[in-house]
Amino acid sequence: MLRLININRRLGDFALTDINLEVSDGQYYVLLGRSGSGKTQLLELIAGLEHPDNGTIILDNVDITRQRIQDRKVGIVFQDYAVFPHMTVFGNIAYPLRVRKADKKYIAEKVEKVAETMNIKQLLERSTNKLSGGELQRVALARTLITSPRLLLLDEPLSSLDTSLKDDLRGLLRNLNKAGQTIVHVTHDYGDAISLAKMVGVIHNGKIIQEGTVDEVFQNPSNRFVARYAGIRNFFKVNISGEDGLLTAVTEQNVRFKLNGAKLVSDSLLLVKSDLIVLTNEIPEDKELNTIKGKIAEIIPIESGMEVTIDAGDLFYVKIHSSDMKKLRLIESQEVWMSFPREAVIVLNGTF
């Protein structure tokens, strides 16, 4: 088990602040953050390539904060792979065993085995400068896995791969994790988190701002930054009034929302989950629903159908399926009704 306790590290203007993290054995932990959020620095601290100003790093009940890199049994795969260009694929994968002066026969057997797992056995004699990004990634992974690390750290492993290669590698990482490998994976890609993570941490400006299972984090984002990650674009500054259980939120443009909740601050940031918004040409009959009328400002195609931008004083973004689009015969400038339950409305705590 990995534990980071109150880790702080200043690097010029940027600082990792009060990082506390726990990754249990066999966990697949995805640390999600934009570039410059501090996620790579955090990985380098865990690997021992950098040292924290203060705080403690514990791996399997041993304090490794000041331990030598070579003794940590933590493997890191860098974003740019860091495959040695002057060695063949075999030379790269065999490197960790060679520096430990392992027996040649043992090295050959071990390299072949790990290359087979990574599906790169046919590349072993090739020079690394003739490999594709996906192949390089597998070589880098194989080279790290041959050391049997207690903890595998992955820095944006999928960022420079095309979609089909991404799927292949995601499958490979999932299988590795199923086989018991503990993984900490940092990425800026929400898709990686959704498809791989058992636990997600969101890092922003050097701080972990939310942590939990994928559902916990993305169903209940604690602030605007995390919500944006989940693809939510419907944010509104509102003034909330009313009694407990009968609250009304009003935007500056006088758009009104009915919402559940108690003891809410009057000036808040509110989000509406766009997948729960239903479009109709007529006003819905259910009085419990939030119903808002607006005019279609724009319709743009997206992967899963269409995104319709509706001007109701404030702009709403609604994703709908292509078949619904045909059924409703939506066109730009047309007036439509949006309806959504109270549960679709979330009031955020942090408003940055």
């Binding site: 070579q70 493997g75 890191i76 860098f78 740019d80 040695f84 063949t88 030379g91 065999a94 490197y95």
Partner: protein
């Protein structure tokens, strides 16, 4: 003709003039050297000895000093320490010093009264007028070429690769010998060849330390001052040809060495 091509033409003409300035005196010297005179010089034992002395002393000086200079270059490329910029300046000093002044400074150091001279005399070695003194003079003026080239070579090796090697279990020494050194190899060899070539062509510092035994540049000067241009020219041509052959051979060897590093069995065991 557009603006770009006018610019290109001007650049090409200026470049040709510079190239001509370098080549014309050399070509002139080759043209003005008579075949019979050249053949006589080729057979001249004194010329043989001085060229051989120049080559092996410069090569030995380069080789021995590279043992310290290459790790020093790595230090300059990778580590931060106080007065690093001052030290970088000190390394370049021999390039800007008048070489006779460098020779005088060195003579004070290696003569019997100097620190190194005194130490050497304890083992019965007189550095002045001796190949070892010549080697020191050559190294003194040519070391910056090796250090600067090797430093740039080490700096160009991505630090990520060294970090990856550390993470894979290699010690700092292993990382140096299996990652940094092989990847900076081409620059180091370039520096080695430059240092060797610069040492070989040194006159000013060497002539102060040792007129005898005579290295080729001193021999050429002596022939010129005693017998004139016609007598010095064939020796110069011969020396230039031999030096060129030696440099080409070194380059070819370094390329072979580079290929060896692509062999997976060559790096770590």
């Amino acid at each position: 003709m557009n603006k770009n091509s006018i610019f290109t033409w001007i650049v090409m003409i200026l470049s040709s003039l510079v190239l001509l300035f370098i080549l014309a005196p050399l070509v002139g010297m080759f043209i003005h050297t008579e075949g019979t005179q050249f053949l006589e010089t080729v057979k001249d034992k004194e010329v043989h000895q001085s060229i051989w002395l120049t080559l092996w002393v410069s090569f030995t000086a380069t080789f021995i000093f590279s043992i310290g200079a290459v790790p020093f270059s790595w230090l300059l490329a990778r580590k931060s320490f106080p007065f690093k910029n001052v030290i970088q300046g000190v390394i370049d000093l021999p390039i800007v010093l008048p070489h006779t002044a460098a020779g005088i400074a060195l003579l004070g150091f290696i003569s019997r009264d100097g620190f190194l001279g005194k130490t050497a005399s304890l083992v019965g070695l007189n550095l002045v007028n001796h190949p070892s003194g010549i080697a020191l003079a050559m190294a003194f003026v040519s070391l910056p070429f090796l250090i600067n080239a090797a430093r740039d070579g080490f700096a160009a090796v991505p630090e990520r690769l060294e970090k990856a090697a550390l993470n894979l279990g290699a010690s700092n020494t292993k990382v140096f010998f299996t990652i940094s050194l092989p990847l900076a190899w081409r620059s180091i060899i370039t520096g080695f060849v430059m240092m060797f070539a610069r040492g070989m062509s040194e006159f000013g510092a060497v002539v102060i330390i040792a007129y005898h035994p005579m290295i080729a540049p001193v021999l050429i000067y002596e022939r010129f001052s005693s017998y004139g241009l016609n007598y010095a020219r064939p020796a110069s041509v011969f020396f230039i040809l031999v030096a060129l052959l030696f440099l080409i051979a070194l380059r070819l060897l370094s390329l072979k060495r580079k290929e060896k590093y692509n062999n997976p069995d060559a790096q770590t065991d």
